[in-house]
Subunit: 225 residues, 2 copies
């Protein structure tokens, strides 16, 4: 058994053999936002050694999670993107992120906070049930970054950049401290964000993106056998 091989016939063990190494899941997370070039990843993952990044990208490509693409016209080069199997990691990744969010306190001084990642946090926080019957497009402006959120009856599309069509409401957040999702929600609750458009869509926004603790599954009571 190689170092990374667990030697068990188990889906979880298999998953960890593929994306369980250090930095691997964070690479997938960043690529869930959009395809990135090598150098984007380097600055997007503060502290990652370049040799480790290169190794992970090869391993993930080998495993069919990531694929190399040629970047389109203006800037030639390589783009790293998720394959379908890579995108399929999203539910697991969001679930892990939700759990971790519950284990987090306030941002520590020195913690990196990148507003682009809110794209993913919005997906993790999205409450499909609360959004049933709702149709709305928001744009969130935070720290020079523009995000868009399109909710259509229980479905969410979130990404960086302006909305594909005129947004119903633009929420502009000028944070004092780190531009985190929490800080945004806090400010929005307190009315400390600027609104442009249909301001009545702020309440649905807060209801649909709440990131409350997930309901706890019941574990079977131990019992002799």
């Amino acid at each position: 058994m190689t170092r990374r091989d667990y030697g068990q016939y188990c889906g979880l063990a298999r998953a960890l053999e593929i994306v369980g190494e250090r930095w691997a899941m964070l690479i997938v997370r960043d690529l869930l936002v959009r395809p990135l070039r090598y150098t984007d990843l380097v600055e997007s993952l503060p502290g990652i050694p370049t040799n480790v990044l290169a190794t992970r990208l090869k391993e993930l490509e080998q495993a069919g999670v990531v694929e190399r693409r040629l970047a389109p016209a203006p800037k030639r080069g390589v783009l790293y993107a998720l394959t379908a199997a890579g995108v399929d990691l999203q539910p697991a990744l969001l679930a892990l992120g939700r759990w971790g969010a519950g284990q987090m306190g306030e941002p520590q001084p020195g913690d990196i906070v990148r507003p682009e990642l809110m794209t993913i946090t919005f997906r993790a926080a999205f409450d499909a049930e609360a959004a049933s019957g709702l149709h709305a497009t928001w744009e969130v402006h935070v720290a020079d970054v523009v995000l868009h959120l399109v909710v259509a009856d229980g479905d969410l599309v979130s990404g960086v950049g302006p909305a594909p069509r005129e947004p119903d409401l633009v929420i502009t957040f000028r944070p004092d401290g780190p531009p985190s999702f929490r800080a945004l929600i806090r400010a929005a609750r307190l009315g400390e964000v600027a609104l442009t458009g249909r301001a009545e869509l702020l309440d649905p926004f807060l209801r649909v993106f709440s990131l409350v603790p997930v309901t706890r599954d019941v574990i079977a009571a131990p019992r002799g056998g």
Copy 2:
């Protein structure tokens, strides 16, 4: 930043700092079946160095994921069990397991297959929608291990040992090869399992525990910003 610290304010990064180290998730997986003693874990995780196990247990205890308990009367000693926060990892762990299951082929010679883990696989495979309105108790006998499954209208309780009440149907599987979940389902589909009780509950069993690929989330199309 310490070695295991990612220095990012991100739920996923935080989660990986806690349960991202090698073997950690597999320890949590085994404790989701039932509390175990140190030596149970050693044989339950083939190949784990005992010093690594001891280190992980301390780290997970420190992080509030695992707690030490005193074992009850007949056999004194230490039991390791999940805290509420540890149990909360289950949705993420099952999601990762489902993804990994889709990346798996047939068991390799040398792969360990432990039927107790089917407890977890049943939870991962459980289709709550397909189970709505269904009330049934199954017992699965496979390779000297007894598992129970209690479905009550969209809810599942699965564990090792006999069912808490008389099971509606007992499914006995005597595998030729490795006693995996896949092999069980395959055998059940082909009628190669022994049934005791209400045999008409085999079909619901197969509908509710299928482990089909999850529906793929749509990723936002890349767009300039």
